[in-house]
Every structure is written in structure tokens, then in C-alpha cells.
Symmetry: C2
Subunit: 262 residues, 2 copies
């Protein structure tokens, strides 16, 4: 068996999410069908990051095994050829060791959330941003965000459906950056609870609109009650940006591997 | 009569272009229909910049007249409400003097062209970039671009269908910038010939791929023959970014007006 790791970009708009579901097309089904058509093998893929319906990925990571050997760049190019009608692209394919696991080997996930803060609705970025028709106070959002960074019980920002064993996570980064008419939230952690980024963004937006203070956010966190925090921000603004893994050799620092050369 | 100036953003993908045509939906028809539904008046709009089928706009400018008076922000918000199903948004509405003309008052047009230069096809930016699956040499493209800046006969970069009286234009800016996996071309001139930006980009891409030298581009320009230059780059990568006008008061510098406050 040869294990392959893929780094994948997709527009989540028309999908029920990464994961196969009965109620519509999933990115997983599209990718597994492309693997089947390319290799003749029926495989199950495993993904490193959660993306719900409508959530996008700039760097989702998955793994799967093939009985036949292929050059990694052949895998990448053949999958892209078979995926062509779909808004899914394989950025990078690598052959990895048999103990590599897209989910359990991951050291860190990075998400980005894009808010378009202007009066006019999005035309070009429709489905790719959350439209908030009011100006947002980025400095106030940043101050509130700092209260959420670190090791906390994030029950207040956890979806009811979340299956994580513990609500305690370490949020390593939560930065708010203005980019033209957009306000972007950068979040980084080893792992996240279900809807955690969207629930945090929905809460910070209340601060940006001056409906909530930073103290209200601290109180919401301390309440350990989902009802105490703000609403869930829409899926369309969320991007899984990157998943970091240990370097290929043992005992090395987290990888900053270059994409397969063209 | 009250004359209104609108600044409009649109995703050109599903349109035959700005201008009304028999063969499909135009942005112009969508905007005029929204004006009719909002105001009850049937108007003809006039645009400041050309956008062909599939070309996008971040700042198209149009004007039209209404017999009834409306606050500019009411015009903007009402049009956005009526345009909602379409990927067209009114960024700004202003009441202007009766002699303002979106096309003839324009001092300068700015276009951007986006090339995605990587092996994998675009997933998220599908329809918004030109995908070139090879690395591009930006320094070589920049050197060639500098030969095109200035006052020239651009016949070699002019579409056969171009209706401009003269092929002589002054290209004020032609900059090539790398932005991650993208190569962006920024072009600025008082006015452009039909397909001029796309024909220039198609030619500079040959330089970026090392198929052409800067001297080849100089020879193509000097030939004054469309067949001497490179192919027309696809519409999907082109954006009409901005059209500049004189300030509202007489005798002032070109306007850098702020959008209508929210």
C-alpha cells in the first residue's frame, strides 16, 4: 500500500461540506470518485479539518491508500483532470509514511473568516464573505479577541452537535485585521470545537457593532453556556487555510513543506 | 431632471457584458430594470468603461436621469434591494450636474488583470482569473511592459471590431506585480482600445513563459499589425477597477471622492 497526502482547495458553496452525507454532494464524494476514475481503486479518504456546508478550503489535507504505486505529481494532475467540472483542486500530492494520518498527525489548524463590512451587498465575493452592512470597530474587536486567546473552556462557543470529548481548547491566535472593506479574523489552534470559529466571529461582530463590550465577551466565555455568547456567523465567510504536520523525518519541527514543483 | 452617477461592482461571469445585446443577459439590462422597478421610470443608462462578456467590474460608473428627485442613498439602497438576485451591487450613488457624462467626462480608466500561475487549476477563483499552469517570470514581463508605456500606435493590440477613431493612445501605467500565486497586471490610461488590455496581457504572458523576449514585444508594437502580437487573454481575468472624473467643483484636480457614508 502507498499512502498519499493531498492538499486541496475548494469552493464550499454547492457542497454539504467535506464529509459524505445523504442530503447532497460532498467534497469527499467528488474526490473519492476522481480517485476511483483515475486509479480504478475505491478508497476511503480521511480529512484533517472540519468544513461544514458552504465552508471553503484553501488547504484542506486528506490521506488515502492505493495498492498501486504512482508518482505524486501524476496523482495530482490526474485528479485535477477528473475533478475539472467541480470547484475542487488538488494543490499538492505527496507520498507519505504509512503512519501519517491527516487528522491525528495534525499539529495545528488555521482558519480565516472574511467579513465584508460595507453598505452595499457583495457582488464579486458573494458566497465567500459574510456581509455586515455596518461599519465595524476593529480595535474593539481586537481587544475582545485577546480575552479568548489561550487555554479556556470554550463551551459557550461550541455547537450543540459537537462531539469533542472536552470543551477545553488552547486558542493560539485570534487576530482581527482590516483589509480594505473587509475585516478578517485569523484563528489558529491545535484543534477547534464544532462551529467554534463561527461562534467566536458572531460574538466579536457584536463588539464591532458596539452592541457588546469586551467585558460582555469575557462574561460569555466564563458562563460556559452556548446561550451566553453571540450568534453563529454564516458558513460562507469561513476558510480552512492550513493544517500543519510534523516534518517527514522523526523528531523535527513542524513542516513548512514546499508544494510539489511544477 | 436629476442626473445620478452610480459606481457599480459586478461579477461578469453570467453576462454578455455591460451593454445590452440580443444574445443574453447584460448588466445594463439588469440595472435599468432595477431602476424601473424602483422609480417607475424607464431610463437609458450610459457607462464609462467597456466590459465585454465575462469581464468583471469593481468600479464601473454609469449615469442616468430621473424626472423625480430622490436622496442618493435611497437610490443606492433601493437599487441594491431590486438587484439582490443578481451579482451586481451599487457601491455608491451621487446626484451630479446635468453636464456630467460617465463616458465623456472620464479622465482615466484603471483595469486590473489577474493571472493564476500555478499547476493546479483554480477552485475558489474559477471565472475570476486566467489560469496559466506554468511559472511566469515577472521581472521579464515588467521589462517588456515598460516598452508599452507612453504614447504609441497600439494597432497591434487592437481588436478587429474596435470602433475607436484612432489607434493612438497614451498608456500611463502598466505594472506587473506578484501576489502569492497570482501575477497581476495594473493598467491605467485616459482610454483604451477594444481588447487592448487583454491583448497586452496575452503578449506579456508569452514573455513570462520565456517564449518571447522584450525585443519581440517592441517589434510587435512597431509592426502595427494585430497578427504581430500575442493572443487575447481570457475575459475572466479582467476587472474594470476605477474611472476617474474631475472633482465636482470647476477647475479642480481629479476627484478622489469618498463613497456615500453608510
Amino acid at each position: 500500500l502507498t499512502r498519499f497526502k493531498l492538499t486541496i482547495e475548494y469552493d464550499g458553496t454547492g457542497f454539504v461540506g467535506w464529509q459524505r452525507q445523504d442530503n447532497g454532494p460532498s467534497v469527499q464524494a467528488a474526490v473519492e470518485e476522481a480517485i476511483r476514475r483515475f486509479s480504478g481503486e475505491t478508497v476511503s479518504t480521511l480529512a484533517g479539518g472540519r468544513t461544514d456546508a458552504g465552508v471553503h478550503a484553501l488547504g484542506q489535507v486528506i490521506h488515502f491508500d492505493l495498492t498501486r504505486g504512482f508518482a505524486a505529481r501524476t496523482v495530482r494532475d490526474a485528479l485535477n483532470a477528473h475533478l475539472r467540472p467541480q470547484p475542487v483542486a488538488v494543490l499538492e500530492a505527496e507520498e507519505v509514511a504509512a503512519d501519517f494520518h491527516a487528522r491525528f498527525s495534525a499539529l495545528e489548524r488555521a482558519y480565516r473568516y472574511r467579513i465584508l463590512a460595507r453598505r452595499a451587498p457583495p457582488a464579486l465575493e458573494r458566497g465567500r464573505v459574510w456581509h455586515v452592512a455596518k461599519p465595524l470597530n476593529v480595535a474593539a474587536m481586537s481587544a475582545a479577541a485577546r480575552l479568548l486567546v489561550g487555554h479556556h473552556d470554550f463551551t459557550s462557543f461550541r455547537a450543540a452537535a459537537c462531539q469533542a470529548r472536552s470543551p477545553i481548547k488552547t486558542l493560539d491566535e485570534l487576530e482581527i485585521v482590516r483589509a480594505g472593506e473587509e475585516v478578517r479574523v485569523h484563528a489558529r489552534a491545535r484543534s477547534f470545537l464544532h462551529h467554534m470559529v463561527r461562534n467566536i466571529v458572531g460574538t466579536l461582530a457584536l463588539v464591532g457593532e458596539a452592541k457588546w463590550s469586551a467585558a460582555d465577551v469575557a462574561a460569555a466565555l466564563a458562563a460556559r453556556d452556548r446561550a451566553a455568547a453571540g450568534p453563529t456567523a454564516p458558513a460562507a465567510g469561513l476558510y480552512l487555510v492550513r493544517i500543519a504536520y510534523p516534518a517527514m523525518g522523526a523528531g523535527q519541527a513542524p513542516s513548512a513543506r514546499r508544494p510539489t514543483p511544477i
